[in-house]
């Protein structure tokens, strides 16, 4: 039995005592078992979840419940969980059991959340369709023949299908926002540095950022409040409190529409959905203005150079020596490296390791990596300048709706999926995707991008929109 209540709603039910965490967790576990065909989970931890639920019920009885106490959630299988296998969607780590928890997991544990399992994902978070997972593709709950997006595809699908009330994902170039858009849920990539990367398997260190996926903006705000905060174990973690002064009434909000984003949007029906959302903001009293981000067209190549360069060395540690996949009977050291890595990594991961190694090599470094870093700086500066004039940017999240599994085989075409999301990633800005329309029975997402550490502006705008619209409440199988 799937449960489509929001996290905030179910927290009130727990507070009111109409349901216990143990009952809720049992329901969730049985829904997950019924929805096996979605392939949203890599690992489900029934016993562990029920034990956590019992503790949460005790805690609530003692009047010590926090906002997420007793609520079943899932983690993308990129977050290390002590004693629970963490695969990162790869054969390389198919049997890896970490002896430590990620900071994100620690924080939710401390808040009393119940972990029901680890969700499917593109291998090492490299992919935009969840098709690169060693554990097979995830199916979109709105249409099982379609992808849920990626790389946090399992997390988004689990939330969209009513299997969990929230899931933590990670976003390097759009990996929370694009699957949230494809599955009709809300997803937040916070400002780079907001959420600790400790214990989160690294893809591209200067871009990776954890964030929540849930059914409403209010839920995202609650989850963000639990996950965010300074962590001395991550040197890039920010020592900054959430600034409530950034909360602005909707009629004081200045919203920018980057014209390059809309010019690049080919799908007219998606454009129409965005236009409806724009009109809603105008009618609500917000000031909507056109802005220009001229470097938008170089964001994708810049992103793929930077991300692949970092990934190529981040993944060097998977060498078959200390943990992870090791080939049978290695003849010598080179054979150990060669076969362990050839067998352990999938095609897309290998492609990016090779690309990244190339761009960092003598003779290519200046032309690729260094130039990409310079362009990245330009892109960042361009955003920062724009935020002098606007509070948030409103853009499409994706060029279209969820595509059929197997439909995109050319990697460059797949990379184009990220055209609207990589800009905020390169600039380190907070960005959120929320549902804003429906095309062919599939959800459409809009992206709100805020200034550095301006998540509360996104919550203000997004929550106002969701209070007035019902796109975020539409469930799979119930066509409008």
């Amino acid at each position: 039995m799937s449960d489509f209540r929001t996290l905030v709603e179910v927290a009130s039910a727990l507070d009111a005592g109409t349901i216990s965490s143990v009952e809720l967790t049992r329901d969730v576990l049985s829904a997950i078992a019924d929805a096996k065909s979605l392939n949203a989970f890599i690992t489900v931890v029934d016993e562990r979840a029920l034990a956590q639920a019992r503790v949460a019920d005790d805690r609530r009885a003692k009047g010590l419940a926090a906002a997420v106490t007793g609520i079943p959630i899932a983690y993308k299988d990129i977050f290390c969980t002590r004693g629970v296998r963490t695969t990162c969607g790869s054969r390389m780590l198919a049997n890896f059991v970490p002896p430590y928890d990620a900071t994100v997991v620690e924080r939710f544990d401390a808040a009393g959340a119940v972990m029901v399992g680890k969700t499917n994902m593109d291998e090492f978070a490299m992919g935009s369709s969840n098709e690169t997972s060693y554990f097979g593709p995830v199916h979109n709950p709105h249409d099982p023949n379609r992808v849920p997006g990626g790389s946090s595809g399992g997390s988004a699908a689990a939330v969209a299908a009513g299997l969990v009330f929230a899931a933590m994902g990670t976003d390097t170039g759009g990996s929370i926002r694009q699957p949230a858009a494809f599955t009709g849920v809300s997803g937040l990539k916070p400002t780079y540095g907001r959420i600790s990367r400790y214990g989160m398997v690294a893809f591209a260190s200067s871009l990776d950022q954890g964030g929540p996926i849930a059914r409403s903006v209010r839920d995202l705000e609650v989850l963000f409040g639990v996950a965010a905060g300074f962590d001395p174990r991550d040197s890039t973690s920010a020592e900054l409190a959430v600034d409530p002064a950034r909360h602005k009434p909707i009629d004081a909000l200045r919203i920018g529409l980057p014209k390059e984003y809309f010019a690049a949007l080919g799908d007219r029906r998606v454009a129409a959905s965005l236009d409806t959302a724009r009109r809603w903001f105008e009618e609500a009293g917000a000031t909507v203005i056109d802005v220009s981000l001229p470097n938008t067209d170089v964001a994708i190549p810049t992103y793929y150079v930077v991300a692949s360069a970092e990934a190529s060395t981040n993944l060097s540690r998977y060498d078959g020596v200390r943990y992870g996949h090791r080939c049978e009977a290695p003849q010598d050291l080179e054979d150990l490296y060669l076969r362990s890595r050839s067998q352990g990594f999938g095609r897309e991961v290998k492609r990016r390791i090779l690309t990244g190694t190339y761009t960092l090599s003598i003779g290519y470094f200046d032309a690729y990596y260094l130039k990409a870093q310079r362009v990245r700086r330009l892109i960042r500066d361009e955003f920062v300048r724009t935020f002098a004039d606007v509070d948030v940017l409103l853009t499409p999240t994706t060029p279209g709706v969820a595509f059929p599994i197997g439909a995109v085989s050319d990697p460059i075409e797949m990379y184009q999926q990220d055209v609207f999301t990589v800009g905020a990633s390169l600039a380190g800005l907070p960005a959120m995707s929320i549902p804003c329309g429906w095309v062919d029975g599939l959800p459409v997402g809009m992206q709100l991008i805020g200034p550095h550490f301006g998540e509360s502006l996104l919550f203000t705008a997004g929550d106002a929109f969701q209070r007035a619209t019902d796109w975020h409440t539409r469930r799979p199988g119930r066509k409008p």
Partner: protein, 480 residues
């Protein structure tokens, strides 16, 4: 013909921090293999480096001591290569923007005189682990205790002109880092290692010759021998019509020999790029001022002061300042004794011999006790000979004090002229044969009488008083 020899040294100084440079694992020496390697040192998925502030402080202290430029910001880079004892597949080091910029060392030349040697830079980096090939029958053992140990790599200009100069430079750096308290200086535990770049040319006006690099030199003696050998090899090669090939030679401390490194141990392209997991290191003026205030007196200054203020010979001043622990001990002895020269004689003589004999790292005999012993010699309470006996007793039983022992064993020297005169008269009466010899002009026989008298007083006779009485008495006999 004579050849011009050009040598540059890279000295790796292992900083004496309590924990490793990027993890909290203990940095002590000699533990069970892999017992001091945590998840960060093992490069487990999701682990992040956190910079040890003590390592930064020590590096900056070194920079101040060599009067170096200290840039406000320095940057860590990844140096990428695969090796089983390099868990991440990259070493975190500093490439383009090291923490310590250009500085210098005033080198006391082996043949006398001083020459200023340029220090190009010094940068922070982590050490790798150890590969153990011998004990595992066809397999390789990996010990990661050393992985992540903090190193400061000090790179000299190619301004050293002989093997002896190179060894003197290495020694002087060794003394300096011990004075600064940033390295324990234990060469046999690998706390300092050295790579030497060596080339020869026919004349100082010629361009530099092709250089070879000898890696992993861990003793002064071998550094000098290896360079001498390499210089001779290069000259012989060129004189025979050959050319020097640029290559890397590895010193094997177990076999005490060098061999060319296998090509597999060399990487042509380390693909350096800025480490995205760490922020730039910032050294602000306040921090540097505080460190400057805390700098100890450096060896050159101390040596000059010993010569100038304590009127020690150049040799004694050099000897006493070559080890900060010895210098500290000596200064305490001299302060109590009130006689710098006598204190120097005792520290360089009896004390140093006892330290060497027992291979003691710290002196069992407190400096104040040795100082008081010297006071008692000076005030005539005990003779030098008795003092040596007392020294041995104090060395064996550090809880005793000089005055206790003097009293307990009745060692006060006999200066009572009347008592001594009676003894002198006895000795002259009992040894007519020797008296005869003395009278015949054999004045050396005086020593015999002194010996007899010392025996009679158990060494307690005041030698000066005794000598006078004896000479007078014998003169009297002769005159009769």
């Amino acid at each position: 013909m004579t050849w011009d020899v050009v040598i540059g040294l890279e000295v790796h100084v292992q900083l004496a921090t309590r924990s490793k440079i990027f993890s909290g694992a203990s940095a002590s020496f000699g533990a069970e293999p892999n017992s001091q390697a945590c998840a960060i040192d093992l490069a487990m998925p999701g682990m992040l480096p956190v910079l040890n502030a003590d390592a930064v402080r020590m590096a900056a202290t070194f920079g101040l001591a060599i009067d170096a430029e200290l840039p406000a910001e320095s940057v860590f880079d990844r140096k990428n290569y695969f090796y089983p004892d390099l868990p991440k597949g990259y070493q975190i080091s500093q490439f383009e923007r090291p923490i310590v910029g250009r500085g210098h060392l005033d080198l006391k030349l082996p043949g006398g005189g001083v020459r200023r040697i340029g220090i190009t830079r010094a940068h922070l980096e982590e050490d790798a682990g150890k590969s153990l090939h011998e004990d595992f029958a066809g397999m390789t053992g990996i010990d990661l205790n050393r992985a992540g140990m903090p190193l400061l790599e000090v790179v000299s200009e190619p301004e050293l002109r002989s093997a002896a100069e190179a060894a003197a430079y290495f020694r002087q750096i060794h003394v300096l880092v011990r004075y600064l308290g940033i390295c324990d200086g234990n060469l046999n535990e690998g706390s300092m290692r050295c790579d030497a770049n060596v080339s020869v040319r026919k004349s100082p006006s010629d361009p530099l010759g092709v250089r070879t690099e000898i890696k992993n030199l861990n003793s002064f003696r071998f550094l000098e021998r290896a360079i001498e050998h390499e210089v001779a090899r290069q000259i012989e090669l060129i004189e025979a019509g050959g050319t020097v090939v640029r290559e890397t030679l590895l010193y094997d401390p177990d076999r005490d020999e060098t061999r060319p490194m296998r090509s597999k141990e060399l990487s042509e392209d380390y693909r350096y790029f800025p480490e995205p997991d760490l922020l730039p290191v910032v050294l602000d003026t306040a921090q540097l001022d505080a460190l400057r205030q805390g700098l100890p007196e450096l060896p050159n200054a101390k040596r000059a002061r010993f010569e100038r203020d304590l009127a020690l010979s150049a040799y004694d001043a050099e000897w006493l300042t070559s080890d900060p622990d010895v210098a500290r001990y000596y200064e305490a002895v001299a302060a109590t004794a009130g006689d710098p020269k006598l204190a120097a004689n005792w520290v360089m003589g009896e004390w140093s011999a006892a330290m060497n004999r027992d291979a003691a790292r710290t002196s069992p005999l407190a400096a104040e006790q040795l100082g008081r012993l010297i006071v008692r010699i000076k005030d005539g309470t005990i003779s030098g000979k008795i003092a040596k006996t007392l020294f041995d007793a104090l060395w064996k039983d550090p809880n005793k004090t000089v005055d206790d022992l003097i009293e307990a064993e009745d060692l006060t020297q006999v200066s009572d002229t009347a008592a001594l005169a009676a003894l002198v008269a006895d000795v002259i009466r009992d040894n007519p044969e020797q008296v005869g010899q003395y009278r015949a002009g054999k004045t050396k026989v005086l020593g015999f009488f002194v010996g007899q008298l010392m025996k009679a007083t158990q060494g307690k006779a005041n030698p000066q008083a005794l000598n006078e009485l004896l000479k007078d008495a014998l003169a009297e006999v002769r005159d009769r």
